[in-house]
């Protein structure tokens, strides 16, 4: 059995290790902490090795590994995830409209850093976060995300739309681009 195990492990490594980069980065977007991401990847690979016989199509290995990672994450999410932000469905464009072109570019460069984006991402419900990350990080099309997650393309579009809206709304609020309200308040004070 020792010889069989060696052959299986070699094949397992050949097929699955090229996806470690992707798995780690997805785990990092889920857990937000490098050590937690490493643990999540280790758990994923352990489960994948034990269930390697279930992988029928090697072309779908990445999606298969991701489904395992996501299962582990959802199972243990209490230690990773804070309560997601409730979405009232309102838009984010009004937070951009207040800024001129040069001011907005400055906001993007100086205030919108990785930490802010990750904090905003953390507030999204998992089902939105997954499609948003696949869209931005992996540059996947709707069709590719649909095939990867094995969900209808309409669902992908809907989740991506809501996820992006929420993300942008949280981000723009966090950098304080909506300033019109403040000016109106001061004007009322003067008139009175």
């Amino acid at each position: 059995m020792g010889l069989l195990r060696r052959v299986d492990r070699k094949k397992f490594k050949e097929i699955t290790y090229p996806h470690l980069d992707f798995l780690y980065n997805m785990a990092l977007k889920y857990s937000m902490k490098p050590y937690d991401a490493e643990d999540l990847v280790q758990e994923t690979m352990y489960t994948a090795f034990r269930k390697f016989h279930q992988l029928r199509d090697q072309q779908k290995c990445r999606a298969w590994l991701f489904s395992i990672l996501r299962s582990h994450f959802l199972r243990d999410r209490r230690q990773f995830v804070r309560r997601p932000l409730l979405d009232d469905g309102s838009g984010y464009l009004k937070n951009i409209q207040a800024e001129g072109a040069e001011d907005f570019a400055e906001v993007l460069d100086k205030k919108m850093n990785k930490a802010r984006v990750l904090q905003a991402l953390e507030k999204l419900p998992e089902k939105f976060k997954t499609v948003v990350v696949l869209y931005y990080m992996e540059d996947m099309t709707y069709q590719e995300i649909s095939g990867f997650l094995d969900i209808p393309i309409g669902t992908v579009m809907s989740r991506l739309n809501r996820g992006k809206k929420q993300l942008k709304k949280i981000l723009l609020k966090s950098v304080g681009t909506a300033k019109k309200g403040g000016k109106v308040m001061r004007l009322i004070g003067v008139l009175l």
């Binding site: 290790y17 490493e38 993007l108 739309n161 809206k165 942008k168």
Partner: protein, 234 residues
């Protein structure tokens, strides 16, 4: 398309079809405010994409995954025809050199007397006790034993306490196959031999320590389950 419709499209364009996109872009070419709004939104998209790009994977991750997989116990309850065929092939191929271990036909293997056992152990220790030529470096005895003997059972802690395994090799004690492990502590080396207990003519109680004198050298023996462990050099 009016400006309000454009803004609605811009915020929800993932759910709109291509015909709406054409109308929106035509409107943007005619309306400066909406054109600027779209430019800001696209800049925001690019910025988010850049910040969410993949990060460098820690260099030790693959190594950690490797070590975890090495420690996975053999799956129980996994039965398949191909696995059975493969095992049978291994048994047949290994019949001549490893007959004492795999075929289980212990009746054909001459049992070693305690005197013979002591002599073979002493000879192998004197010739190979430095753990050099013919030995494989070993960092984890359980992994090496599992890979070479299909067992994860380690030598009893009481006989190797404080020592660190350095290297290992398969060897023969007379006609009996054994493993020669070399341990080290503070520059001092000892040899631990692992063999099938049924190849030795003697009765050994579980976990009890025995001593065999060979010449001027004492060899300690301990039995656990089906294996006999002999330590020399202490």
């Amino acid at each position: 398309m009016k400006c309000e419709q454009f803004k609605t499209w811009l915020e929800n364009r993932d759910t709109h079809d291509i015909s709406e996109a054409d109308k929106a872009r035509r409107h943007a070419t005619q309306c400066h405010c909406c054109s600027e709004l779209m430019a800001h939104d696209e800049a925001l998209d690019r910025h988010i994409g850049a910040l969410l790009a993949r990060e460098t994977v820690p260099s030790h991750l693959e190594n950690i995954v490797d070590l975890n997989l090495e420690r996975i116990l053999p799956q129980r309850g996994t039965r398949s025809i191909w696995a059975l065929v493969a095992v049978c092939c291994i048994v047949l191929l290994a019949a001549i050199p490893f007959q004492g271990w795999i075929t289980g036909k212990r009746g054909e293997q001459p049992m070693l007397s305690m005197e013979q056992l002591g002599g073979y152990i002493l000879a192998d220790y004197q010739n190979h006790g430095d753990g050099g030529v013919g030995f494989e470096p070993v960092k984890d005895a359980a992994i090496w034993l599992n890979a070479n003997l299909h067992t994860r059972q380690l030598p009893p802690e009481r006989i190797v306490a404080g020592y660190t395994v350095k290297s290992a090799r398969l060897c023969k004690l007379g006609e009996c196959l054994a493993v020669h492990l070399v341990y080290e502590k503070g520059g001092k080396r000892i040899s631990v031999f692992v063999m099938d207990k049924s190849n030795v003519d003697g009765s050994f109680e579980q976990d009890r320590l025995y001593a065999v004198a060979t010449g001027n050298t004492n060899i300690l023996l301990s039995s656990q389950n089906k294996y006999l462990y002999a330590v020399i050099g202490i």
